[in-house]
Amino acid sequence: MSDFTNEMKSSNYEKEITNALQRVAEKMPYYQEYRYFEKIVSNHYLSVSRNAIPKIIVLGSGFPEELIVAAGKMPYWILGGSRESSMWADDLVPRDTDPVSRSSLGYIKSGLGKNALILITLVNDSSRKLAYILKSTGHKVQTFHFPPLKDADSIMEWNRQYEACRSALAFHLKKPITKRAIQKAEKEIRYAKRRIREFLEVCEGMIEGTCRMFVLNSYYCADDLSEWSNHLKRLTEKIRRERKYKYRVGVRSKVLLLGSPVYFPNYKIPFLIEDAGLTISVQTDYTTLKMQSGIWQERGEETNYYFNDTSPAYVKNDSFYKQVMRVVSENAIDGVVYHVLKGQIEYDFELERFENLFEMINVPVFRLETDYNYQDVEQLRIRLEAFSEVLNQRRYSKGELAV
């Protein structure tokens, strides 16, 4: 590929990142404590076009990260949210591949995965085939698959893979990963998760859903987890202080964002939801739930962890269903936006069950299917505005809003 094409690609990519950063910043109240998160997200994403060479790359958010933190590193997470990077992989994958897998492959093919050990969680067809493509093109790949049935054998299998990944990481980094180091890493991650839960408790009514998502997303951009946790603590304290006199009860209808996870910089859907006059009261997807859940190797907690895992990689995702029921009971929501990224068929399979659940509690569900392109924005905007109207009408009729 010519230098000119490469330059064009990287300039389009940078534009995509900076635009998304700018739009999120416009929504965020001016807090000094927030700047850190902006900085790390910007550094993380823009490092792609600045020839960063990470040592460990993780595809997907399901990987037991304590193994990497124990090795004294933070993994370079590739969550696959970029439209531009998904276009870099257009020629390598079938037409119907989901945009997350496309984008992830695009990142690696841009040169990011040259010397790295790539850790892939095998949760769906695309992740399996991505692992094959990367292996066959000479990349170092270590897979971690989620057994689709939750039983004692699966836990055994999970443990075996955990040890295999530990050995692969130690071999790659030329450094043993000791039990003590893992315990220390677990402590660090648990601390971060506590900070996340505290943050989520104080955000409501103070910052918009997109900004909350952005701060949570920055977890996957941090080079130093302790530093990130401390910054989040500071931001939480700031919001808590402000809350005393700035908290306002929203007049907008509150929605639960469910389904395919939304990753930065593809904030098309949250932006549209908020532009349509709705508030993302809470988002419940695998990545967000995992950020708040426990850690695999907490002694005696393996079974609990596994049985509560909410990945769509299972035949029956009862734990996800239960988590959604909990979220619904704890938050007063007016409607549900069920987000399906094209090609992520598992989420579409689960929709019917959720439709039945929300029908029982009389909450309207709005399914939208999209990818990372912008061609459908106006159509989605009209549909979301109509949904917003429906929710407002329902609130008027219930007497929650003044006529």
């Binding site: 769906n124 066959s136 039945n356």
Partner: protein, 433 residues
């Protein structure tokens, strides 16, 4: 997930009418191809019994206590025979069931999964309804979620298939799953699975594999002794016939092939383009791809699909004749040689197809992708590269369970066959110079 739909008699009648009409039309088209061996009649009859006559499969098969449905070739049928039950492969190509399943399964799911769901909902196919249990290997995303969705209408046992198969530990996962299956089958049939019954099961399927291997020798013959569409019908019939009966019929077919060979009675011409079909399963009645190839003047010389040769080409190899030894042999046989693209590393599929191209003297490859069957679609690119190097033309045809795309497919396949002919002509001309 919603339970079974409540259909009235009228809806069922309409479904049956439409479904049998499509099956009959494909069966007649297949039979109308020249050179139909007389010995293939029982196989066609079996398909007719299932899809047109809607017959009770247990009639005259009292030795089997139950019918156990399977949703993939990765379920060891030996294990089911050992439990004195008969396996019925439920992967279907029914267009009518597909349109019923379409209401219950997401739009982008593969048609095969929709057809299975459709039969689960409509209760109009005795072969499906008679299965007291369905063993569903969790292979691709659609089958994984289908196992969860079908739970409301059928007794389902999902079986975890490891995504890797290189190490012993990977095979151990599948072995554990097979051991989990044993008491479930025993409870279902009331028969104890013993080392002896396992050995009997291996013998039953082994004989079928032996006849299949004999048949493959005839299939390799150039000019062809038998049309590929007829072979696809024979292979599809294996899903619904007890293995012993299938083996007996196959033996007769082999005798007829031998006699044809001796009489030099070929169905193919000397320069007829020899084509291999690979990719998504070709399940009856959706046999439009093989039919189009042969109606357009090609000969379907080989197939690398799970409803075709793949299901029967490797026998179980038992080293230790004890119970555990045989179970290990199943775990190994049903994963290691399997060229299904659900495995992370599936490079052996390329070797297998290359081997088939050589042995069957294949001149072109039709790569069949069912809409939504992503795993096969992923492997197309590498196939294109590999066979490009060998100068073997390959064409990707994407299809669905309906007849709307038939004419478009016909034009593309016809052009592909013309291309092979021209290529061979040019090669021949160059050789003469």
């Amino acid at each position: 997930m919603a339970g079974r739909i409540h259909t009235n008699e009228r809806q069922r009648e309409l479904f049956i009418k439409k479904s049998t009409r499509v099956a009959r039309s494909y069966l007649n088209r297949a039979k109308a191809l020249p050179g139909l061996p007389d010995a293939t009649n029982p196989f066609f009859d079996a398909l007719e019994d299932v899809y047109i006559e809607l017959k009770d499969l247990s009639e005259g098969e009292s030795k089997y206590k139950k019918s156990i449905g399977t949703l993939c070739v990765m379920v060891p049928s030996e294990l089911i025979y050992a439990a004195k039950a008969r396996p019925v492969r439920l992967c279907s190509g029914s267009y009518t069931a597909y349109s019923i399943g379409d209401d219950y399964i997401p739009r982008d799911a593969c048609p095969l999964v929709k057809a299975v769901m459709g039969f689960g909902q409509i209760q109009a196919l005795p072969a499906f309804d008679q299965c007291s249990l369905i063993v569903a290997p969790v292979t691709c995303d659609c089958k994984k979620k289908l196992a969860g969705a079908l739970e409301t209408v059928k007794n389902i046992v999902p079986v975890h298939v490891p995504p890797l198969k290189r190490e012993d530990a990977d095979i151990e996962i599948f072995l554990r799953e097979l051991y989990r299956l044993v008491p479930i089958l025993e409870e279902e049939t009331g028969e104890k699975i013993t080392a002896r019954s396992l050995a009997e099961g291996i013998c039953i399927v082994g004989k079928a594999q032996y006849e299949m291997s004999r048949f493959l020798k005839y299939r390799k013959h150039d000019p062809a002794l038998v049309q590929g569409t007829h072979v696809m019908a024979v292979m599809n019939a294996y899903s619904y016939m007890p293995a012993e009966r299938w083996t007996t019929c196959m033996h007769r077919l082999n005798l007829e092939m031998e006699s044809r060979l001796q009489k030099q009675q070929f169905v193919g011409k000397a320069k007829q383009p020899r084509i291999l079909v690979t990719g998504s399963p070709i399940a009856f009645p959706n046999i439009k791809i093989p039919l189009l190839i042969e109606e357009m003047g090609g000969i379907l010389a080989a197939d690398e699909t799970c409803m075709g040769e793949r299901g029967l080409y490797d026998p179980v190899s038992v080293i230790d004749p004890g119970f555990d030894g045989m179970m290990r042999a199943f775990a190994s046989r049903y994963t290691k040689p399997c060229t299904c693209p659900v495995f992370v590393d599936n490079s052996q599929r390329i070797y297998r197809i290359k081997q088939m191209v050589r042995e069957h003297k294949v001149q072109g490859i039709v790569y069949h992708v069912l809409r939504g069957c992503l795993v096969y679609d992923y492997e197309y690119q590498i196939m294109e590269e590999e066979f490009g190097k060998m100068d073997i033309p390959i064409i990707r045809v994407e299809s669905d369970y309906n007849e709307e795309d038939v004419e478009q497919l016909r034009i593309r396949i016809e052009a592909f066959i013309e291309l092979i002919k021209l290529k061979e002509y040019a090669k021949h001309k160059k050789g003469r110079r």
